[in-house]
C-alpha cells in the first residue's frame, strides 16, 4: 500500500474517527496545507458566543476547508451574543454573513428557579428564557441568512441528584423543557437550525465535555478535547445548508450486506436475520441503510458476484433490504471503480455525491485510487462498525426532510422506465411527444421557496452561473418587482418530477440579466429549458424588456451547459475573467418548446 500523502493524512484526521490530538496540535500546519486547494468556495460565518469561541472558530475553519469551503469569520466580543443579535453593530452588518452561529450553552441560562417557587413561577421563568432566544432569532432574521443555534447541554453538577431530572425545580428538567421549545421553534422558523449539543455532549460524555479548569481560566464552556467534536458537527450542518451532502450509498454484498459469501455458501448459509449474533449485526446494518433509503438516500449495489446469486441474497426471508430498494445493481466481475462510474451515469448523479461501503480494504483502496472525489471510509472488516462510519461522518446529514427528498427515489425509478421506453421509439422527438408532458411555470410562490433555495445550493451541472442563494435572498427576490423569477414543475405520463427548474432575471434599463438559470438533471433532454425560456421571454415582453443578457461562468461541473445560450440563439457578446456574456434581442424570438404543454390555471 502506498504511503499516505499529507493531504490524505489530514483528510483522515478530520473524518471519523477524529484524530483530535493531531488536529489541536497541528492546526496551523493543517490550515496551510488545506488552503492549497484551488477549488474553495468562500463563505462568511458570524459566531455569536456566550463563552470563548476562538478555538472553536480555528478548528471549524479546518473542517470547512476540508470540505471545500473557505470561511471568513466575524466573532462577537466575549459573551456579547445577545447584544450583537438584538442591537447589531456596523461590523456585523457590513460583514453580511451567510451563516450566523449562536454558541450558547448551559452557562448562558439566565437563572434557574429556587426550590420555593411555585409551578407558575417556574413556567414563567422558562417562558422568559425561551422569549430571550426568540427575540434573538427574530432580530437576526434581518440578516437573511441561516442561523445555527446550540440547544443546551446538561449541567455536570446536580445537587438534586436523580431528582434533578423530574422535579420541576431541577436544572436538568428545565433544560429538557428548553430544548423541546427550541425544537418547536426550529420547526416553525425555516432558517433556524439546531446544533444538538445535548446529544453531542452525551456522546462525548459530560465529564469529557466540560473542563472546569479551562472554564475558570479562559471561559471555554467545553473542553479543548470536545472542540473538534463540536466543530465537526457544525461543519456537517453547514455542508448541508450549502447542499454539499452525499446522495447515494453504494454497498458491497458479501460480508457487508450479509455474512458469508453467497456464491460459495449458498442462500441458506449466509448470515442474516436474528438467529445468531453475527446474523443480527448484519440485520442492523441493513435496517440502518433501509432508514436512509426511506428518507431519500439512493441505494446501489456494487459487488463482485454472479448477478443471479447476488440478487438471490435479497430474496432471503430475513433480508430487510429487498431488490427493489436499489436504484442501480451492479454484480459482475468488472473492476469496482468501473461499475461505480456506471452507477453514477445510470442514475445521473455526481461522483462526489457517492459513498461506498466495502469490507475489503483492497477494493476500498482501488476505488479511492481510481476515483478521487468519492467517499470511501476505512470501515474495517467488522459490520458492527459500519454504521458509525456513515453516521458519524454526517455524509447524509439533512437539514430538513422535504417531500421531495422522500420521493427522490421514485423519480429515479420513473426515470428508468422512461429510459427503457426510449429504446422502442424511432426518433427522440417521437419519444418526447409520447411522454405527454405538462409543465407549470410560474413566479416564485411561498410554498416552494424552500425547494427553490435547496435547488440553488445543490445544482451543479445544469447551472449557468452556480450562484448560491440564501433563504432570505430568495424571499426578497420573490417579493421584488425588479426580478422575473420563475420556477418550473414538470409531469409526464410516468409521474411527477416535482419542481426542477429555476430562473432569475434581474431587470435593468430594458435589459433582463439572467443571474441564475438552473435545472435538475432529473429532467435533462426533455426540452424543459425551452419551455422556461419561452415563459421568461413572454414575461420580459410584458415588462417592456428588449434584450436578454446571459452569463456562463465555468465551474468544475457545468460544462454540459457551456453552449446553452448558443442553442437558445443568443450571440456572443464578450468575455471577461468570470466568464462569457451572451445577448439576445427578443423582438423576433419565436417559441421553441414543442413537446410540453404549459398549464395555466
Amino acid at each position: 500500500m502506498a504511503k499516505p500523502d499529507k493531504e490524505e493524512l489530514i483528510n483522515t484526521s478530520l473524518t471519523y474517527p477524529l484524530n483530535k490530538d493531531f488536529i489541536l496540535r497541528k492546526k496551523k500546519y493543517i490550515k496551510k496545507i488545506l488552503l492549497k486547494n484551488k477549488y474553495l468556495v468562500e463563505k462568511k460565518i458570524a459566531i455569536l458566543g456566550g463563552s470563548t469561541t476562538s478555538e472553536i472558530k480555528n478548528i471549524l475553519e479546518l473542517f470547512l476547508l476540508n470540505s471545500g469551503i473557505k470561511p471568513s469569520f466575524y466573532e462577537s466580543e466575549f459573551n456579547k451574543y445577545y447584544e450583537d443579535a438584538l442591537f447589531g453593530n456596523d461590523e456585523l452588518n457590513t460583514f453580511n454573513p451567510d451563516i450566523i452561529y449562536v454558541h450558547t450553552t448551559n452557562v448562558n441560562i439566565s437563572s434557574y428557579s429556587n426550590m420555593q417557587e411555585s409551578e407558575d413561577e417556574v413556567n414563567k421563568l422558562l417562558k422568559n428564557e425561551v422569549n430571550k432566544y426568540k427575540s434573538i432569532w427574530e432580530s437576526l432574521s434581518k440578516h437573511n441568512c441561516a442561523i445555527i443555534q446550540n440547544n443546551f447541554d446538561y449541567p455536570i453538577d446536580r445537587s438534586l441528584g436523580n431528582l434533578d431530572s423530574y422535579d420541576i425545580h431541577g436544572r436538568t428538567h428545565l433544560i429538557n423543557r428548553l430544548n423541546l421549545e427550541f425544537a418547536k421553534s426550529a420547526r416553525e422558523i425555516t432558517n433556524l437550525h439546531i446544533n444538538d449539543i445535548n446529544y453531542l455532549s452525551s456522546y462525548v460524555g459530560l465529564k469529557n465535555w466540560l473542563d472546569k479548569s479551562l472554564w475558570y481560566q479562559a471561559k471555554y464552556a467545553l473542553s479543548f478535547d470536545a472542540i473538534p467534536d463540536l466543530a465537526f458537527d457544525l461543519s456537517k450542518i453547514i455542508n448541508s445548508i450549502f447542499g454539499r451532502t452525499k446522495k447515494c450509498l453504494i454497498l458491497d454484498l458479501d460480508n457487508t450486506c450479509w455474512g458469508g459469501v453467497i456464491g460459495d455458501d449458498g442462500l441458506d448459509a449466509i448470515h442474516i436475520g436474528t438467529e445468531t449474533a453475527l446474523a443480527e449485526s448484519y440485520t442492523s446494518f441493513q435496517k440502518y441503510t433501509k432508514e436512509l433509503k426511506d428518507r431519500g438516500i439512493t441505494l446501489a449495489v456494487c459487488s463482485k458476484n454472479d448477478l443471479q446469486n447476488a440478487k438471490e441474497g435479497f430474496e432471503h426471508p430475513d433480508s430487510i433490504l429487498k431488490l427493489n430498494d436499489f436504484t442501480s445493481f451492479k454484480a459482475n466481475w468488472e473492476p469496482k471503480h468501473q461499475n461505480i462510474l456506471d452507477i453514477a451515469k445510470e442514475i445521473n448523479i455526481g461522483i462526489d455525491s457517492l459513498v461506498f461501503i466495502d469490507d475489503n480494504p483492497v477494493e476500498r483502496d482501488l476505488v479511492t485510487s481510481q476515483i478521487s472525489s468519492i467517499s470511501v471510509p476505512d470501515v474495517g472488516s467488522d459490520v458492527i462498525d459500519f454504521i458509525d462510519y456513515i453516521d458519524r461522518n454526517g455524509y447524509f446529514e439533512p437539514i430538513t426532510l422535504s417531500s421531495d427528498d422522500i420521493n427522490r427515489n421514485q423519480y429515479y425509478e420513473d426515470n428508468k422506465k422512461r429510459t427503457n421506453e426510449r429504446a422502442v421509439f424511432k426518433s427522440y422527438n417521437e419519444f418526447l411527444s409520447s411522454l405527454e408532458m405538462t409543465a407549470e411555470i410560474k413566479p416564485f410562490s411561498s410554498i416552494y421557496l424552500d425547494r427553490i433555495v435547496q435547488l440553488t445550493n445543490k445544482t451543479n451541472q445544469f447551472n449557468l452561473t452556480t450562484k448560491r442563494y440564501t433563504a432570505g435572498e430568495i424571499d426578497n427576490i420573490a417579493n421584488s418587482d425588479k426580478y422575473i423569477k420563475l420556477y418550473g414543475k414538470l409531469s409526464d405520463k410516468y409521474g411527477d418530477n416535482g419542481l426542477i427548474a429555476v430562473s432569475i432575471g434581474r431587470l435593468k434599463n430594458q435589459q433582463c440579466h439572467i443571474d441564475l438559470w438552473l435545472m435538475s438533471c432529473r429532467v435533462l433532454k426533455r426540452d424543459m429549458e425551452f419551455a422556461m425560456l419561452d415563459e421568461l421571454i413572454a414575461q420580459c415582453r410584458e415588462k417592456g424588456v428588449s434584450e436578454l443578457v446571459g452569463y456562463y461562468y465555468k465551474s468544475a461541473k457545468n460544462n454540459m451547459v457551456s453552449d446553452l445560450y448558443e442553442k437558445f440563439g443568443f450571440t456572443l457578446d464578450s468575455k471577461n475573467s468570470k466568464g462569457i456574456i451572451w445577448k439576445l434581442n427578443i423582438e423576433n424570438y419565436k417559441s421553441k418548446n414543442k413537446f410540453i404543454e404549459v398549464v395555466y390555471d
Binding site: D21, R25, K28, K32, S54, S213, Q217, A218, Y220
Partner: protein
C-alpha cells in the same frame, strides 16, 4: 524521564503549535520572545503539554511562571 527528555517534548509541542519546524527554545524563552505566544495559544500549549505528559496543572500554577525553564522545573516536579 530526564530534564532533557521533557525539554525536547516541550520543544516539539512549541514547534507544532507555532508550525515552525526549526524553532529553538531554551530555558530563558518567554512569551515576550515568540510573537504568536498570546493568551489563546498559551491555552493550546498547556493543553498539549498536559496531554503529552499525562499531567495536570492546578489553577494558578502557571500564572507565576516567567519562562520555559520555570515551566519545565514544575513539570519535573510533577513527573517524579
Amino acid at each position: 524521564m530526564t530534564r532533557e527528555d521533557i525539554f525536547n517534548g516541550v520543544q516539539d509541542i512549541f514547534r507544532d503549535i507555532f508550525d515552525e519546524d526549526d524553532l529553538i527554545v531554551n530555558d530563558r524563552t518567554s512569551s515576550d520572545e515568540i510573537e504568536d505566544w498570546d493568551s489563546l495559544n498559551h491555552i493550546n500549549l498547556v493543553s498539549a503539554i498536559e496531554k503529552e505528559f499525562h499531567i495536570r496543572f492546578a489553577l494558578g500554577e502557571l500564572q507565576t511562571l516567567k519562562d520555559i525553564g520555570a515551566m519545565i522545573d514544575l513539570m519535573e516536579e510533577k513527573l517524579t
